[in-house]
Structures are given as structure tokens and as C-alpha cells.
């Protein structure tokens, strides 16, 4: 901190000096308070991380902070054991196989629809879009039972494509809303010039709208990816044991929490390493995506 002692003149500044001191003091109290809050926020995750490095018998006997006094006992053994656990590794790949297609599909389908709602003329356009806006907050719970029945009838129940389809459908209202609003900001003259030049709608969409919409598409993609990657409820119902993602596989170990901590702690880190990496790599888009998604 660069303090400003020179402004408080020592000659005539008795009271001024006091207020300056008071301000410095309150400032350091604020600093200290926020440091404490920050540490408070880091401790829970840090604790689980240290716990994931300790042998099971240590975790059963003492708390993770004891591991700090005995760094020699820490190792990545539980992680290597986890990577040998074919159930968990399969579940990790299932998570990837669900999240990536569900993100790509939502972005593509919503970009197409967003462009139509923003720039194409057709009867009932505004009404249909209002219905989509209304769907923003529809809880997935209303869809679980009927869609499970529907998927059961067509053989999608329990499969990865079924899970993906459900995620795509319930991700669409927000995605269409976000992209339509962003595309609508494109200057009309640009589009009309392109139409004058004889570009087809498809070409305008590919060559003009998509590149201009890149920031919104990035935010949407990150938001949707995280949403699906972190989901548990949808997969709990729609994925069978062959298709289950990491969240569901770990959840089934929760019943014997104490004795399964050796799987749960590294498993939790395996599941959060990808989103946290995405978070650090795309901070700005990440924050924008989450903020925009808050209407959901």
C-alpha cells in the first residue's frame, strides 16, 4: 500500500493526523477482515485436497490439518488408485461424452434459432419468442417424469444420447434468449448490405452473424458446458450404470461417506479440475456466462 504520510503535515496537523491514523487503521481492519474471509473461502476445498493426499487410515483417525505437520505422509496414491478404478474412469469419460455434445448441440441449435428470431420475418415470431423467454425458468423437475416415459418408449432411457437430448432441450431457452439478444444488436445496415450483395441467409449466418456473435457464443458455451458437466439430477434419472457420469458415480459412494473418503476426495478433485481449469482459462467469458445465465 502506498500510504500518504506526507499529506498530513506534522506541524499544524494534530487533528488531521488523528483522522489520517483512523483512516489507516480502518483500512487495515478492512484488509485484515477480507484476508480472513478469503482464507475462510479457500479452507474447505484446501482441506479436502490435503485429505485426498493422505492415506485412508490417517483420514479415519485425524483431521486433514494434521497432514500439514507430517508432509511425508502425503502422496498421490489415492489418485493413481482412482485412475486404476475402471468404474470411475469410465464415468469420467461419460461426463465428457455427455458434456461436449450437449454444449455443441445447444450452441448450434440456439444460434440458428437466435438468428431467425432476430433477423428473419415470419408470422408469430414475437409470440413464439415470448414463450421461449417464459421457458427460461421452467424447472427441469416438470420434465423428468414425462420425458423418462417418452425415452423409455423409444429406447433412449438410460443412454448417453438420452441424457444429452434432455440437457439440450432444457439448455435451449436460455441459449436462444442470449444469442437472439446479442444477434439483434448487429447493425441492420451490415446485414442489409450483405443481403443486397446476394448472400443467402445461410451464408450470412455463417460468414457474418457467427463471427460477430463470438463473445456471446463463448460465454454461452462455457456456461452450458459447466451446467452439464456439474449436473447430477438429470443423469441420476436418465443414465443407467453404463452411462453414468462422474457426479452420479461418486454420489453412489456417499452412503458410506467415512469409509469411502479415499475414493470420494480424489474423485471430487477429478470432477472439479476441468471446470476450474475452464474458469481460469476463460475468466471473463466465464463470469459473463454465469451472470447472463442468472436469469435462468
Amino acid at each position: 500500500m502506498t500510504a500518504l504520510p506526507s499529506t498530513a503535515s506534522p506541524k499544524n496537523g494534530g487533528p488531521r493526523r488523528v483522522t489520517w491514523l483512523l483512516r489507516q487503521l480502518s483500512r487495515s481492519v478492512v484488509q485484515l477482515g477480507l484476508v480472513v474471509v478469503g482464507l475462510l473461502w479457500l479452507t474447505p476445498a484446501f482441506g479436502l485436497f490435503i485429505g485426498s493426499l493422505r492415506p485412508d487410515e490417517d483420514n479415519a483417525a485425524t483431521g486433514w490439518w494434521k497432514g500439514l505437520t507430517n508432509p511425508g505422509s502425503l502422496s498421490f496414491d489415492s489418485y493413481t488408485a482412482l485412475l486404476d478404478n475402471s468404474g470411475m474412469v469410465d464415468a469420467f469419460w461419460n461426463t465428457v461424452l455427455i458434456s461436449v455434445p450437449a454444449t455443441v448441440a445447444v450452441v448450434v441449435i440456439a444460434a440458428l434459432a437466435g438468428y431467425a428470431f432476430a433477423w428473419l420475418e415470419f408470422p408469430g415470431r414475437d409470440w413464439i419468442f415470448l414463450i421461449v423467454v417464459g421457458m427460461l425458468v421452467v424447472p427441469v423437475q416438470v420434465g423428468l417424469l414425462p420425458v423418462a416415459k417418452m425415452f423409455g418408449a423409444v429406447g433412449l432411457f438410460g443412454t448417453i444420447p438420452g441424457v444429452v437430448l434432455f440437457h439440450v432441450a432444457y439448455g435451449l431457452p436460455f441459449a436462444v434468449f442470449l444469442l437472439r439478444n446479442y444477434f439483434a444488436e448487429i447493425p441492420r445496415e451490415m446485414l442489409e448490405a450483405a443481403r443486397m450483395d446476394g448472400g443467402s441467409e445461410w451464408r450470412i449466418f455463417l460468414r457474418l452473424v457467427l463471427p460477430l456473435g463470438r463473445p456471446a457464443i463463448a460465454s454461452l458455451a462455457i456456461f452450458q458446458f459447466l451446467w452439464v458437466w456439474n449436473d447430477m439430477l438429470v443423469s441420476l434419472i436418465f443414465a443407467d450404470s453404463q452411462a453414468q457420469p462422474l457426479t452420479v458415480a461418486l454420489q453412489s459412494e456417499m452412503r458410506q461417506f467415512g469409509s469411502n473418503i479415499g475414493v470420494l476426495a480424489p474423485g471430487a478433485f477429478l470432477s472439479l479440475i476441468v471446470p476450474v481449469a475452464v474458469f481460469f482459462a476463460f475468466q471473463r467469458h466465464f463470469v459473463q456466462g454465469v451472470m447472463a445465465g442468472s436469469v435462468k
Binding site: G38, W41, P44, A45, G47, N59, T62, G63, W64, I109, L112, L120, E121, P123, G134, V137, V138, P139, Q141, V142, G143, L144, L145, P146, A169, Y170, L172, P173, L191, A193, D197, G199, E201, W202, R203, L206, R207, L208, P211, W229, N230, D231, M232, L233, L236, I237, Q251, M254, F257, I261, A265, L272, V276, V278, F279, F286, V287, V290, M291, S294
Partner: protein, 464 residues
Amino acid sequence: MPATTVQAPARPAPQPGGAGPGAGDHRNSPRRRAARRRRLIALLFLLPALLLLGALVAYPILFTVGRSLFDASGTRFVGVENYAEMFRDPATLKAIRNTTIWVVVAPLLLTGLGLILAVLTEKIRWATAFKLVLFMPMAISFLAAGIIFRVVYEQDPDRGVLNAVAVGVHNAFDDSAGYPTARPKDSTALAKGSDGSYTTKDKASPGNTVNLGLVGVPPKDLPKDAKPAHKAAAVKPGGSELRGVAWVDFTLGGGGKSGQVDPKEKGLPKLVVEAVDSHGKAVAETTTASDGSYSFGKLPAGDYSLRLPAKNFAEPYGGVEWLGPALITPAIIGAYLWIWTGFALVLIGAGLSAMPRDVIEAAKIDGANEWQIFRRITVPLLAPVLGVVFVTQVINVMKVFDLVFVIAPGPVQQDANVLALQMWLVSFGGGNNQGLGSALGVLLLLLVVPAMIFNIRRFRRSQS
């Protein structure tokens, strides 16, 4: 990218719009044909989204509303019976109650916490780092957060960090040692009171020595600094002094004599001893030293009995039962705050930095203090942002499922139950009552209808 590049495709793009209406259609004028073509193109752009939304969102809503009017197996029409059942079934009532607690408590706490932190964060230079730390939990799943907090809330103070702190703080203020299993060696000398205390049967006067022999103290309960008591037992009391030792009347490995303070036998430190007068009133209280000795220095002449109050024999403080039935919902709300505070902080922080500086400067010049500025300027100007955070959180907590499902251990799941969890339990998790499950789904939908209207209104206003 400049608009002119549109006419120069690098590769032949597929053209779904290219397949227009049949070329042989002579009945329509070219203009109407063009309009039809445009409509068809729009439809092609919209088709995937409309199909998915129609089949997997719109139709299921109607189906769920219809299904909620039928019984568990779906064969008999029962009208609003499922909705009535919702308010009769104790488990569902509990879920409704808990969801109400969530909606009332969590958004308010979160908005308040976000506001305070956002205002304070303005004053520091490492604001970005601070926001990063608080925002990070937003990236991780409720499941991972649930695992993290199961460890935090662990009951055993040796393993759960929160209870380790709670016990540490508690012991810092309450220094007495607990000997929950201790009992008198000779129950004829020390009689047990109805409150769990022990009192000597024989009276003693100042100038006497009274030794209190206890057994049943496992070595692990004995403080590490406990010293043998026999030296202190031999000290002669002064004229107005009543003294003695409290000790473990048991020699490890045998050989001790009952009722006698043998050389190896240890004193019981930190034991509370009271001198009780003939009216049964405690007139003095002291605590034993590390060799188990106690002493009442200046007692008026008279007969006294000595009492070991019940608190000596209380179970040691084991921390708070975070995951027990009473505190489970507040504990889960705590984990929720850990995840979402960063969201409120960033959103409110953005609102703060967009605030007109000159208003605050003017107020400062007029002599307003920090609190007045906060109360009269910052909060009113931030009201719209605070409203958005609050409403967002209300919608969010109505649907909370994963955190409750993951953090609440099996036996207290019913105590932590919320609507979204109850809906899952009833329809999928063993309840197998799809009629009631559908009714709960409809209830959740009805609860978010105000938010739906809010969104639509806000959107229409932004368009006009």
C-alpha cells in the same frame, strides 16, 4: 469481419434455404413466392429448436399437469386429491417448510453478504484476486461442494475442522477437565446426589484434611500434567484451612492400598470442589492443582461437607452436531452461501463501479460519513442490482436439490427435505407415486411463474 466477405465463401456451404418451393408454381406472383421462401427458410432455421422445446419442454409441462390429476398408478382420475395429499403427507409438509426456510433465509443472507463484501472490496487493491477466490466455487459441482462440506461438518472434532475450532474455542473459555466415567472408590464416603454430584458423608472442619478417592478414570482422560498426589496429601493444613487431594485411588499394575494415597497414584487436576455448610449451601469453590490438591484457606469455623459438582463428570464438549436433525438445513445453507456469495459479490461489485462517482464525492464534501453514504446513497442506487441478485436466488433456492441430497446423511435426509428432493423421492427414489410426484412438479412450476412473468415483462420493456 467485414460484411463484404459474405459473398466469397471459401467452400461451398450447404444451403438448407436453397430448396425452395417447386419451380413450376405459376399461380403465385414472384413476390409472394419470395415471401413463402423466406418463411420456409425461417422455419428451417427454427426447426431443431422448436422440435426439441416442443417435445421435451412444452409437451411435458402439459403432461405433468394432466398426470397430477391421476392416482399413483395413473389409472384413476382423482382430481385435486394429489394436491390435497401434499399438505397432509408429513414428509411433503416438512419439505414445504424447509423450502420456505430456504427462500426466506438464503437469498437475504446472500444479498446482504454480497453487498457488504462488495463495498469493502472497493477499498482494497487486490479486489480482483479476492473476487476470484470467492467466485471459484461457482465452477465446481454441487456434488464436489457437498463432499467438501461433509468433511467440514464432520462431527468428530478430531476430524471435522469446524468442530475442531468449536472445541478449541470452547475449551479456551472453559478450563475444567471432564471425567465422565469417574466414580468414588468408596461410595459410603462419597454419596451420589440426584444431580450427578458427589458429596462427602462425614463432616469436616477447618484444620482437617479430606482426601477424595475416585476410580474409573482411564489414563487417556487424565491430563498429561497430572502429578502423583501423595506428597500433597501429606501436607498439614493450617488452622483455618480445609484441604486435601482428589486422586485416582488405583495403582496401575496393582499394589496400591484402597483409601490410601499411594506413591504412584496420580492426582485429578482441574476438578471443581465445593465446601458446603450445614444448610446445604456452597460457601466456597476451588479447583484442584495438577497434583490433585485443593485447599480452602479461610473458612469460618463450622462443619462442612465437600462436594464434587456434576459438571466434573459431564461428557467433554464434542462440538456442534452440524449434520444432526436440528441444524442440517442451516448447515446446508452455509455450504450454499460458500458457492454463491462470489456471484452476488461480482454482480453487486459491477453495479458499484457503474455508480456515478460525483454523487458520492458531493456527499463527502457535504460532510457525510461512510455509514451515511452507504445507507443513503449506495444502497438506494444499487437497489435494481440487489433486486436482480435477490430474485435470482429466490428462483435458485426453490429448485435446490443436489446439495441437500449430497450433504444430508441418510438418517437425517427427511429433516433436510426440500420440494425438489421430495419430488425426486416420491417419483423415482422409491416412492413410486407419479401422481403426487407430478403434483409436486406442478407446484415447483407454479412457484416460478412470478419469475416467468417478471422475465417476460422485463424483456418486453427492453424491446419497446
